[in-house]
Amino acid sequence: MANLESEFVGIKSPNPFWLASAPPTDKEYNVRRAFEAGWGGVVWKTLGAEGPPVVNVNGPRYGAIHGADRRLLGLNNIELITDRPLEVNLEEMTRVKRDYPDHALIASVMVPCEEDEWKRILPMIAETGCDGFELNFGCPHGMAERGMGSAVGQVPDYIEMVSRWCKEATDLPVIVKLTPNITNILYPAEAALRGGADAVSLINTINSITSVNLDVMSPEPMIDGKGTHGGYCGPAVKPIALNMVAEIARNPETAKLPISGIGGVTTWRDAAEFMALGAGNVQVCTAAMTYGFKIVQEMISGLSQWMDEKGYTSTADFVGMATPNVTDWQYLNLNHVTKAVINQDDCIKCGRCYAACEDTSHQAIEMSEDRVFTVKDDECVACNLCVNVCPVENCITMRTLEPGEMDERTNTPVEAEYGNWTAHPNNPMSTAAE
C-alpha cells in the first residue's frame, strides 16, 4: 500500500488530510476523536486575543444549498472565531499534542492588526507544543467588520506586514490563510511570500447569501427577521478553490510557495485533484461537518488505492504534476479538432443533447422520426455541451480528428502542427511570420 505520510513545511503527519480550522477542531473532545478516526492533522479553531471571548449569535449560523435528496452541496456560515477562553484552548491543545505527538497540530490565530498583539500571543501559543501557525486572514463576516480576518486579507500590504511580525516572533512555520474575496489571488499570495510566510492555505469561505426567505423577505440564515452575508464552503466552492490554487502554483514568483489546499474537499479524488495542481496537503471542513469524522477512512483508502494503481509511492510523487498543463487560453491548440460521437448502444433516447444543441448551441444534432440522435459533423463545433447534459456517462464522447482528416464544418483538413491564437491570422496582434 502506498505510503500516505506527509510532510508540509517540515510538519509531519500520518496522511495529508487535515481538518481545517472550524467547529470540528474547536475543542479537545473533537480533536481527540478526529485523530482516532484517522485524520492526519488539525488546524485548531481560530484563537483570538486574551480576555472575554467573542460571542456568537444565538440563532441559526448556517444556510445550505441542497441537491437531489437533500445532498448538501454548499454551506454558508456566520460563525466567528472560537468563543471559548484562550487559556482553555491552550490547555487543551497542550494535552492533545502531548498525547498525539505524531499528528499535526496547527494553531490558527486572529488578533487585531497591531504588532505587539501578534508578537505577544504567538510565543504564548507556541508553549502548547503546536507544530505551526496559520494566520486567519480569511474570515469574511463578523470579524472583518472589526478590522480582522478578510479585512486584513484583502490588503496585501497588511498581509506582508503581519506575516513579517509573526516570522519575527516565532521559529515555527507560519502559514497564511487566504481569502478568496479578492480580485486576483496572486496579490495576497505574493504579499505573504514577501512577508516571509512559509506557506499559504486557501481558500477560506466566500461571501454569500444562500437563499432568501420569500415569506419574511429576509436572507437565510435568518435571525429575528434579518440576515447577513456569510462564508460559503462545501462541494460548490471546489472549482473556485482549484483555480486559485493553480494560479499560485503556476505563477513563477509563487511557484515554490507551499500550498495547503482547502475548499470543498469531500472525497479522496478531490484531494488528489488539489494536490495534482500543486497543494502539498489538503484541509477539510464541510465534508466532516456533513458526514462526521469517519469520511477520512474513505479518503485514505481511496487515495492509496489510486496511488497504487498509478505506481506512486509517496504523495510527493504527484503533487504539482498537473500544474504545467494549466495554461492561458491563448496557448491552447486551435488545430486540435474534435467531434461529438453518440454511442447508439448506450443512448436511452432522452433527447437532452438535442434540446441543448438545437436550442442553445449549434444545431448539430439530428433527431429522426424514431428518436435516433446523431451528430452532424458539418455543424458540430465540439463545445462538449451535449456530453455534459447527457444523463448516461460516456454515451457521448469527443473524437479527435487525425491530422489530414477533413473537418466538415470548416471544410479544411486538420493540421498536424500545434497552432494557437498568438499566431492565428484572425488575431490582429498575431506574432506569426507572414
Binding site: 435528496d69 436511452i348 432522452c350 437532452r352 434540446a355 428518436r371 444523463p391
Partner: protein, 440 residues
C-alpha cells in the same frame, strides 16, 4: 364472528376488521413531500418525451414532474388536469407499466422508470384534497348537451363541455355517478371513497346537472334526447356480461365477477361481505385479477384464476399477474371450463387443458369450488344505438357516430383500449369536436 378462512361455503366475516382494513389499504400509498422530490428528481425532462406520447391523454409529464421538483405541486396538478380531468383516478388505476412508465427512458436504461403514476397522484391529491378546482367556465353559449353515462368518458366530456360554456345534463342508469370508477375499480386502488370525492370535485366547475336513475332505453330515448338537446354524447360503457356457455352455469354460487366487485365496492362493512372458501375465477383480464385478488383479501382459503390461453396472452398486465400471485392467487393457464358440477349449488368445476390455439387436449382437471366468478368479458347493451362495429358503437377520430348530432366514447365505442384513461381522452376529444360543431 366465528368464521375463518376454513369455514365451509359462502360466508361473511372470515377475517376480522383489522385484517380487512389492512388488506384493503392503499395499494400504492401516496408519496410524502420528500419522497416526491426524490422521485421527481429522477426525471430527465426529456425532449419530446416518450412518456407523454404513450399517455392516451398526452399529459405533459416532464413539465408536471419539474413543477413538483420545484415545490409547486399545485401547478403540476393543473398541468395534469388540463389534459385529463380524471388525472387523480388515472394516477391510481392506470396500468402505467404498459403506458407511460413502460417507455420512460429510465425504464430503457435501468429497468426502473420514473414513478410517473405515483407522482401524478401526489400532485393531483394536493388540489382534490384541498377542494380546489382550477377551472372556470367560459361565457354561456346557450347550448345544451346531453351526456349519457357518468363514467370516465361521460364525466370527462361533461367537464370539457361545461368549461366551454355549454349547459350539460348527465344521465346515468345507476343510483350513483362515477361508472366503473365507483363500481368496478379494485377497492385497494381507490381507497377513502376517492371516486365519489373526485366526482364531487369535478362538478365544481358548474353547469353540469347529474340525473341518476335515468336509463337510456327505459324512460330515456335517443330520439327524445336529440330533440331536447343540441348534441348527445354516449358513454354508456359495457353493461352486459359474456356467458360461459357450459353445463351447470345456472347453479347457485356461479356469479358475474363485475357484480361481485360492484357489491364489494359499495359495501359499508367488508366483514359482512360473504365469500366462498374455494373460489374459482374464470378469465384473464383485469376484472378476473381484481375479483380473484379481492376474494383472497376477503379471506377465501383457496382462490384460483383460470384462463383458457397462455400466460402471455392474458390481458392483465404482468404487474397485475404478479400482484395476484403475491396475494396467494393460483394462476392456471391453458384450461377451458367444461362443466359446473354440484347439486343445486356449485361444488366443483371441471376444466379441460387446451393448447395455445385453444385445441382441447383431452386432459381434464376438477377444482373444488363453492363460488365461481365469470370474468370473460363485457358487452355493449342497448337497442336503437347508432351503427356498431365489432360489437361497439362505431366512431371516427372525433367520436362522431353514424348518427348526426350523436357522439360516443369510452368502452362502448370503437377505438383504443378499455381503460379509464382512454375513456377520459375520448370523452375530452369528443367534447372538443361537439364544441367546434356547436360554435360553427
Amino acid at each position: 364472528m366465528s368464521n375463518t378462512p376454513f369455514s365451509d361455503g359462502i360466508q361473511a366475516g372470515r377475517l376480522d376488521s383489522a385484517e380487512l382494513a389492512e388488506n384493503f389499504g392503499d395499494l400504492h400509498p401516496r408519496f410524502d413531500d420528500h419522497e416526491a422530490l426524490v422521485a421527481a428528481d429522477r426525471c430527465y425532462f426529456c425532449h419530446d418525451a416518450p412518456c407523454m406520447t404513450a399517455c392516451p391523454t398526452e399529459i405533459d409529464i416532464p413539465l408536471f414532474i419539474r413543477q413538483i421538483a420545484t415545490g409547486t405541486p399545485e401547478a403540476a396538478a393543473k398541468t395534469i388536469f388540463d389534459q385529463n380531468i380524471l388525472g387523480g383516478m388515472c394516477a391510481r388505476v392506470c396500468p402505467t407499466e404498459t403506458l407511460c412508465e413502460q417507455v420512460c427512458v429510465r425504464e430503457t436504461a435501468e429497468g426502473n422508470p420514473v414513478e410517473i403514476g405515483r407522482l401524478q397522484r401526489y400532485a393531483t391529491d394536493k388540489l382534490v384534497d384541498a377542494g380546489l378546482h382550477p377551472f372556470g367556465r367560459a361565457d354561456s353559449t346557450g347550448k345544451k348537451v346531453a351526456v349519457v353515462g357518468a363514467g370516465p368518458a361521460g364525466l370527462s366530456a361533461a367537464h370539457r363541455l361545461a368549461m366551454h360554456g355549454h349547459d350539460v345534463t348527465v344521465y346515468d342508469a345507476r343510483a350513483k355517478a362515477g361508472g366503473l370508477n365507483e363500481f368496478g375499480i379494485a377497492a385497494y386502488k381507490s381507497v377513502e371513497s376517492f371516486a365519489e370525492r373526485e366526482v364531487e370535485w369535478l362538478l365544481k366547475i358548474g353547469g353540469i346537472t347529474v340525473e341518476t336513475g335515468k336509463k337510456l332505453g327505459d324512460g330515456l330515448s335517443l330520439d327524445g334526447l336529440k330533440a331536447e338537446f343540441d348534441a348527445v354524447f354516449l358513454g354508456i360503457g359495457l353493461g352486459g356480461v359474456n356467458a360461459l356457455g357450459v353445463d351447470g352455469e345456472g347453479k347457485d354460487g356461479v356469479d358475474d365477477a363485475v357484480d361481485f366487485i360492484a357489491e364489494l365496492r359499495q359495501a359499508d362493512d367488508l366483514s359482512k361481505m360473504a365469500i366462498g372458501r374455494d373460489v374459482v375465477v374464470i378469465g384473464g383480464g383485469m376484472t378476473a385479477v381484481d375479483a380473484a385478488v379481492q376474494a383472497k383479501l376477503l379471506g377465501a382459503l383457496n382462490v384460483s384464476l383460470v384462463y383458457r390461453r397462455g400466460k402471455d396472452r392474458m390481458n392483465a398486465s404482468e404487474f397485475e399477474q404478479d400482484l395476484a400471485a403475491s396475494k396467494g392467487v393460483r394462476i392456471i393457464t391453458n384450461a377451458s371450463p367444461k362443466a359446473v358440477i354440484g347439486n343445486g349449488a356449485v361444488r366443483e368445476i371441471e376444466f379441460e387443458y387446451t393448447d395455445n390455439d385453444l385445441k382441447p387436449t383431452g386432459q381434464t382437471i376438477r377444482l373444488a369450488a363453492d363460488q365461481v366468478f365469470k370474468a370473460i368479458g363485457q358487452t355493449l347493451e342497448g337497442e336503437g344505438l347508432p351503427a356498431l362495429e365489432w360489437g361497439k358503437i362505431k366512431v371516427d377520430d372525433n367520436g362522431r357516430t353514424s348518427v348526426e348530432g350523436i357522439w360516443a366514447g369510452g368502452d362502448c365505442a370503437t377505438g383504443g383500449d378499455d381503460l379509464t384513461v382512454t375513456a377520459v381522452a375520448e370523452g375530452r376529444d369528443a367534447a372538443e369536436d361537439i364544441h367546434a360543431k356547436l360554435s360553427a
